[in-house]
């Protein structure tokens, strides 16, 4: 059993245009997290700053953020695995604390995406592919995920309606989340009638770029005892990787990086998919949530469409998933996403999730993917 806990969580509202600087954005999440933990910033032994590069003019953002938050001269550095940067930072923080090197670490994930156009965002995202062999064809994230969606529909029973149902569910819960970018329910027709981005994916099958920051305070058992909040323990933490080039993938309906991360996390925590009470999965596109169901063992491979159709991932179903709105409706400020997902599960396990509380939740899971299945991260938390 792990001796490392998350004792504080914070998150800004995720919005289309925050209108403030990256360090000011980080301050909001940081203040909320240290208040939540009931510690003073001077008690922190160090910080890890997580985001995806190239959205900011600022080079090496860890420096300015650490300075702005008053964390100098304690160590700080930048941690990156694109969309899973803050989950990767959690793994690093876990190792620091578990090894005894540090006792309390702050993880600050952020992204300010509104300073560049949507097409420019896609160009940067596209360069998360292999710029030598794939980007020259005009690749982008929705197109890659669309290829997975097409393959899943061809190989298994999955319909565009079932994909749309994932957005309908997540929008329903986002409407109840004051920090979500889109607090509006959408109908099946809204999703199906939205314009095609990369067939078969439509606009509402895709998550929204957003600005936002998240913060986690990670601490040793000794320090966790003194925290104001109920400590939530890191029971399992796994990570994996997948080939960047699609030509070298083992599957176009599943991510090997996620399966590997899940295997490690379940083994470390000593639990299986049936033990998970509530989960956050990386639904950057509707198909990504469908694939996550299978990769995490919530259903058999290929049965993701049926799982959402049967409402098993709603609150009250077999395994509630993304009850904070998910990336689809809460928004996806890349570097902040993992921290936000972890915050949601921490709140659930503390029993502080308000209108979306899963009754009696004791074990929760976070699945956070970087790129098109390049980096897989699965974290299992326990009350």
């Amino acid at each position: 059993m792990s001796e490392v806990a998350i004792i504080g969580v914070g998150q800004t509202a995720f919005v289309r245009r925050c209108g403030i600087s990256i360090q000011e954005l980080c301050f909001e999440a940081f203040k909320e997290a240290v208040d939540d933990a009931g510690i003073s910033p001077s008690e922190l032994d160090g910080s890890i700053i997580a985001s995806a590069p190239e959205y900011d003019k600022q080079r090496s953002p860890a420096g300015v953020i650490s300075e702005y938050l008053g964390l100098t001269p304690k160590p700080t550095f930048y941690c990156e695995s694109i969309c899973s940067s803050s989950s990767t930072a959690l793994k690093v923080a876990y190792s620091f604390v578990e090894s005894g090197l540090h006792d309390v670490i702050a993880i600050i994930g952020f992204q300010k995406m509104s300073e560049i156009s949507s097409a420019d965002v896609q160009e940067r995202m596209g360069r998360g592919a292999d710029i030598m062999w794939e980007s020259p064809f005009g690749t982008m994230m929705p197109a890659y995920y669309a290829m997975f969606a097409r393959a899943y529909m061809d190989q298994y029973e999955l319909t565009e309606e079932q994909l749309a149902l994932v957005r309908v569910k997540n929008a329903k819960y986002a409407a109840l989340n004051p920090k979500a970018a889109y607090r509006k329910e959408v109908s099946l027709e809204d999703v199906l009638n939205s314009r095609v981005i990369a067939s078969p994916l439509k606009m509402y099958d895709c998550c929204a770029n957003a600005d936002g920051a998240s913060c986690l305070i990670v601490a040793s058992k000794e320090r966790a005892k003194k925290a104001k909040s109920t400590p939530i323990w890191i029971a399992g933490i796994g990570a994996g990787s997948g080939s960047v080039n699609m030509a070298r993938r083992d599957s176009m309906t599943s991510f090997i990086c996620a399966r590997e991360a899940a295997r490690q996390a379940y083994e470390m925590a000593g639990v299986g998919p049936g033990d998970i009470d509530v989960a956050e999965v990386h639904d950057c596109f509707t198909i990504a949530e469908i694939m996550a169901y299978g990769d995490l063992g919530f259903c058999k491979p290929g049965e993701g469409g049926k799982l959402i159709q049967d409402k098993e991932t709603y609150i009250g179903g077999k395994i509630p998933v993304n009850v904070d709105g998910g990336l689809l409706s809460k928004g996806h400020p890349i570097g902040a996403t993992g921290g936000s997902q972890l915050r949601t599960i921490v709140k659930q396990l503390r029993g502080e999730a308000g209108p979306v509380q899963v009754a009696g939740a004791r074990i929760g899971l976070v699945h956070n993917i970087g790129g098109v299945g390049l980096y897989g991260n699965v974290t299992i938390l326990r009350r």
């Binding site: 097409a119 420019d120 980007s135 020259p136 064809f137 078969p200 030509a247 993938r249």
Partner: protein
């Protein structure tokens, strides 16, 4: 230098795989094979990640492949807008030899389906750059 000529927009100029572009100019789509252990790499690697040898040879991708999956884009990243709509696909030529690329605009939406037989064809882009696409076999 030389590799930057590959594709609609090039991001890399220096690589040991620059001959890939010369072969395309000669009308051939190539992958590499390790001379020592025989592993085939698509896209080409110039160093073998199986046995760590750097003795590689070029092998032409020939014959018919089958379309595994595809998508038609109605929105493009910066630099690719004037190609819209265009279709990206993954094609299997034999077990362990898949190739990623664009499908020919000559293939209609009605014809698109998994299993469609395709062949690779080097194409000269209007800008004078070189690429390849998949056409109906």
């Amino acid at each position: 230098m030389g590799f930057e000529k590959f594709g609609k927009v090039g991001f890399v100029s220096e690589t040991k795989a620059v001959d890939f572009v010369d072969y395309l100019e000669q009308g051939k789509l190539m992958v590499t094979r390790c001379k020592k252990c025989g592993t085939i790499f698509s896209p080409p690697k110039m160093d073998c990640s199986q046995c760590l040898s750097s003795e590689m040879e070029w092998v032409e991708v020939k014959g018919k492949g089958k379309l595994i999956t595809y998508t038609t884009l109605q929105f493009a990243p910066t630099g690719f807008d004037d190609d819209l709509p265009y279709t990206l696909g993954l094609v299997e030529f034999k077990k362990g030899l898949n190739v990623f690329g664009r499908l020919s605009k000559g293939i209609t939406q009605d014809e698109l389906r998994a299993g469609l037989e395709l062949k690779p064809v080097p194409v000269r882009l209007s800008s004078g750059r070189i690429s390849y696409e998949f056409q109906k076999a």
